[in-house]
């Protein structure tokens, strides 16, 4: 069935506009949508304000709304939904995709969300509607989650009605794009494998009632490996070698006209047949992301039938999350497949990098999972408290998406929340790199994903302090721009600086701060921007009074998380900085004295390899 989708923006009165989305195809259409607010960057969605949500809307987590499309009138083929827009709100753009609940199909725009800008400076990622560009492609994304059907159509359409948009005002527009929905009946593929009693050959028959040409893209397996290999000839009719990697055999049409079949006679020593089905250039059938695999019998000659596939055009409601995990499962398989492939094509180094990166990411994820469990089952004897804050501490947040943290924060609204995103800094040949921007970027990204709802432990700063203090490399404490090299240099208001916590130090000792140099660490974090956290163990240690002096200096001079740091020295053996022009500090064995100019500096706190001054 072919039809169209339209998007219409219409002015009702001065600041009241309405956006309608409609669809001419029958189905149970749902508009899955969210908004972007002024100042948002990136492509995350947000919940729209309450008054924008049409009746019958359902909130999906914290980022989307689902609103069903209704028939305008009985007998009308169009389903439509209208959203009222109040331009006085700070909504910058509206994002949506369409979903057909009956089939579970999702309709996107050029592989992305539809995006209707309500302001002129919405970043154009090529998916704006109502902007100058016309439509080129509407693709249908199929989430065949529970594995029922499968069907994909990439339909191309062209709209000439692209309207222009002025910078200052919003313009009404109306756009249409064609869509088509392929509805097929229940189809099946059945695969039978048996041993031929006379020749001991493996006979595989593949039979299907799928309409049209069906090509089997196949290979055989031997030696316990699932690697595709090309068997020796003879091959069935209409078989072509595909790039030396697989064979393609077009199934023969049945005489009855409905469907096709093929017979494969394979050597007895082979262990199995791998295949996928190709329906057309863009449509493949596989086994939930894996190849179909038909194992051959080895010891018995009984025929065994495998009901290999049931292809149904009617997919029940699918669940997006399930489907996504299905997809990610496939990735690892892809990685494996690729790894196998690379090993067999040693000359072909293409994409080795990509594979390595993906494997390493997977390893890191698994290790993070293992760490979070082992850590929670390892008894901790020391209670921990970050001084001066009432809030949440989210242990080891790496591994779950910042968005969930935001859900959690929104629900519980703590006064202060902090997550510990701890992964390794970068090293080259065992030496810590000077530039740790990638490391702090990951923490910043995590904070970002929580929409700034949570702060994060500044693991970068701790790591750099380790190297600087341990090896007398104080030059590390200034980044190329003369800013602090940790998260605190980029996003001080969200950086929770610390030198030790119950995992890194104390009885666990997973990453202990250089022994005896803790006070240099405190001289740094308690004078610098960010929100410093003092480790419980240290308060009840010999450092108590020195830490207390630094804390009272911080309070007295009203240093805060956004204080200005001016780094005046970062050399091999000394680092010095002036904060908010009223506190000067140095750490390291080297010499530093604050400038004797207009300001009158007096020593506030002093200890082994550190010194802090304040203006009086």
């Amino acid at each position: 069935a072919e039809g169209k989708i339209y998007v219409r923006l219409k002015k009702v009165k001065e600041n009241d506009w309405e956006l309608s989305v409609g669809c001419s195809l029958p189905g149970k259409w749902i508009l899955h949508w969210g908004v972007s607010y002024v100042g948002d960057t990136g492509s995350e969605w947000d919940q729209p304000p309450e008054d924008m949500r049409p009746p019958g809307s359902l909130a999906i987590k914290d980022y989307a709304i689902e609103t069903p499309l209704e028939k305008l009138s009985e007998g009308d083929s169009f389903h439509e939904v209208t959203i009222n827009l109040n331009l006085e709100s700070s909504v910058a753009a509206l994002n949506f995709v369409l979903k057909d609940e009956e089939t579970g199909a999702w309709y996107q725009h050029k592989g992305r969300d539809f995006k209707v800008p309500l302001l002129d400076d919405v970043p154009d990622d090529g998916n704006l509607i109502g902007a100058k560009k016309g439509f080129e492609l509407l693709s249908l994304e199929y989430l065949g989650a529970l594995g029922k059907l499968s069907n994909i159509i990439v339909k191309q359409g062209k709209s000439s009605s692209g309207s222009t948009k002025e910078r200052k005002g919003l313009e009404e527009f109306y756009e249409e794009m064609p869509i088509s929905k392929h509805v097929s009946g229940d189809n099946s593929v059945s695969v039978t494998a048996r041993k031929c009693p006379e020749t001991s050959k493996n006979i595989v028959s593949i039979e299907t009632d799928l309409p049209g040409d069906v090509t089997v893209h196949w290979g055989v397996c031997k030696n316990g490996s699932k690697k595709w290999e090309i068997p020796a000839e003879p091959y069935p009719e209409e078989t072509f070698l595909f790039k030396n990697k697989a064979l393609r055999t077009r199934l023969q049409r049945k005489d009855s006209g409905d469907g096709s079949f093929g017979l494969f006679s394979l050597d007895e020593k082979l262990e199995g047949l791998c295949f996928v089905l190709k329906l057309n250039e863009n449509t493949w059938l596989n086994n939930r992301g894996e190849d179909f695999y038909v194992p051959f019998l080895t010891s018995t000659s009984l025929p065994v039938e495998t009901e290999a596939a049931q292809v149904s055009g009617k997919t029940p409601k699918t669940n997006q999350e399930v489907s996504e995990s299905g997809f990610t499962d496939e990735i690892i398989t892809e990685i494996r497949n690729l790894a196998i492939d690379i090993s067999s094509h040693k000359n072909q180094k293409t994409n080795v990098k990509e594979v390595h990166i993906n494997i390493l990411q997977e390893i890191e994820k698994l290790a993070a999972e293992a760490y979070s469990i082992f850590r929670s089952t390892t008894p901790t004897f020391t209670p921990e408290k970050e001084v001066g804050y009432d809030g949440w501490r989210l242990d080891f947040v790496r591994g779950f998406w910042g968005g969930y943290v935001k859900d959690y924060m929104d629900a519980s609204k703590p006064y202060f929340a902090v997550g510990e995103y701890w992964d390794s800094l970068s090293y080259t040949y065992g030496e810590m790199d000077y530039n740790q921007d990638a490391h702090r970027q990951r923490i910043v990204d995590w904070i970002n994903a929580t929409s700034g709802a949570a702060g994060a432990f500044d693991v970068t700063t701790k790591g750099i302090l380790h190297a600087a203090l341990q090896k007398c490399e104080y030059w590390r404490l200034s980044d190329p721009k003369g800013k602090p090299p940790g998260v605190v240099g980029w996003w001080p208001s969200r950086a929770v600086t610390f030198i030790e916590n119950h995992d890194t130090g104390s009885t666990q000792g997973h990453w202990r701060f250089p022994g005896g140099k803790e006070m240099q660490g405190y001289a740094y974090i308690l004078t610098h921007p960010g929100t410093p956290a003092v480790f419980f163990d240290h308060i009840y240690s010999d450092y108590r009074s020195e830490i207390a002096s630094l804390l009272s200096l911080r309070n007295r001079q009203k240093l805060h998380c956004r204080s200005e740091v001016n780094i005046v020295k970062s050399e091999r053996d000394v680092y010095a900085a002036i904060i908010d022009e009223k506190v000067a500090m140095k750490i390291g064995p080297g010499h530093y004295e604050p400038p004797s100019g207009s300001q009158n500096w007096s020593v506030a706190v002093e200890g082994r390899d550190y010194k802090v001054w304040e203006t009086s």
Binding site: N151, N282, L285, A309, K346, T350, F374, T377, G430
Partner: protein
Amino acid sequence: MEVSVIGNPQAKICRAELSFRELGFRLGSGESRNKVCFLTHQSSKWKEIRIRCSPRSVKCEAIVSDQAPFLKPTPNPRSQLESVKLFVGLPLDTVSDCNNVNHMKAITAGLKALKLLGVEGVELPVFWGVVEREAAGKYEWSGYLAVAEIVKKVGLKLQVSLSFHGSKDPEIGLPDWVAKIGEGEPGMYFTDRYGKQYKDCLSFGVDDVPVLDGKTPMEVYGGFCESFKSAFSDYMGNTITGITLGMGPDGELRYPSHQHETKPSGAGEFQCYDKHMLSALKHYAESSGNPLWGLGGPHDAPAYDQQPHSTSFFSDGGSWESQYGDFFLTWYSSLLTSHADRVLSVASSAFGGSGVSVSGKLPLLHQWNKLRSQPSELTAGFYSSNGHDRYEAIAEIFAKNSCRMIIPGMDLSDEHQSLASLSSPESLLGNIKTSCKKQGVVVSGQNSSASVPGGFERIVENLKDESVGIDLFTYQRMGALFFSPEHFHAFTVFVRNMNQVELSSYDQAGEDEAQTVSLGSGTGAHSLQTA
């Protein structure tokens, strides 16, 4: 039957990129912009994907091959380093004393990570006190079998350590029934001169004494080994590639001469004061014509927390070098050597021909080894008259039983030892390796259990040493510290260094890429237009 089609356009494109090589798929376009999609879908779980089939049908499993190489070495000629098989120890409390698998989820995730890293396998400590806990001859292998099954599924190999000792942390004792016998038979534990017993291991003095319900400990260990062999018969020689026999305290061949964690610790104390050892000593003294020497151990040896030189026994020209000293130390060390022989004979008779290697572990008693007397070795039972090689007799026993020797402490370097401990782990390691080489004993390596600075570099140095040719290294031990980000990162780098995965191949990758992409996008774009 469940089928799905590659329908997610984002997924599709990525898959096209990847599958291209495997299957020769041509799907979608090769627009590089879309690659981002792949990288953003990072979360991933492992799952076995099964296909439901009709009852008559074959069970189709979409299995991914175990043989998939991950981060495998570049195909250079194999160096010494690359031929080393790397294992990682599982937590000591992997199986609880109720035969449950602890931290199953974490271990499973950990095993997968190790597999992807290219690690050969894991070491599983199997405790006597867990398996034969309740009654003699009543073995309960279920917990350990479950672990073996996971290890097998992940496609890793397994080295099993049969541990006839107890552990303090986590707390795992000897079997309950053994402890109960011990209450009435205190002489079966090692005892120091103050009469204090060491209850985590049976004394070498009772090896052949039927103290355990009429059986000798060696017979009990033998029964344990046989039961293990039959319970794990499906795994022997395939998943399980090696067995290590516990030889003493913490599994190591030594007397429990150090029982206190003091720093710097003393030289340790002699442990010859249990009933059986004292009577053996008496007998030996009488037979050698010095009955007065058989009344007890040395009276002038320092206490646990005393410096070795604080009394005269270990000093230069001290009792240890006297005729008495030679008499006592010869006897004391001969018990250790004969214990080694008994245990390894039990092992080789149980596991000979079952396709697994058998090993025993030595300690690396490096503290105070810059002293001439090397007192830590003496109290632990390593001695040889006239300054001869203290490890040669032991190595000979290993050779005789065709067993491999595990030497720990391969991560220790001299420069990180405190000066006060007068310690040189590197030279001691060198000594033992030389003894093994002489006797033709194959050496496996381990690190010390605590993480030490520069440890990984030192391990690599040790493994590179071609003169001994260590071909198996077990890194101790999986747990929270192991997976803590900084440590795990360092471990990852270590593994990659071992495998010599060339970082430079990343750069080469870029060159060929352009070609492939143009291929993909050319045909891909065409197919899109015609669709």
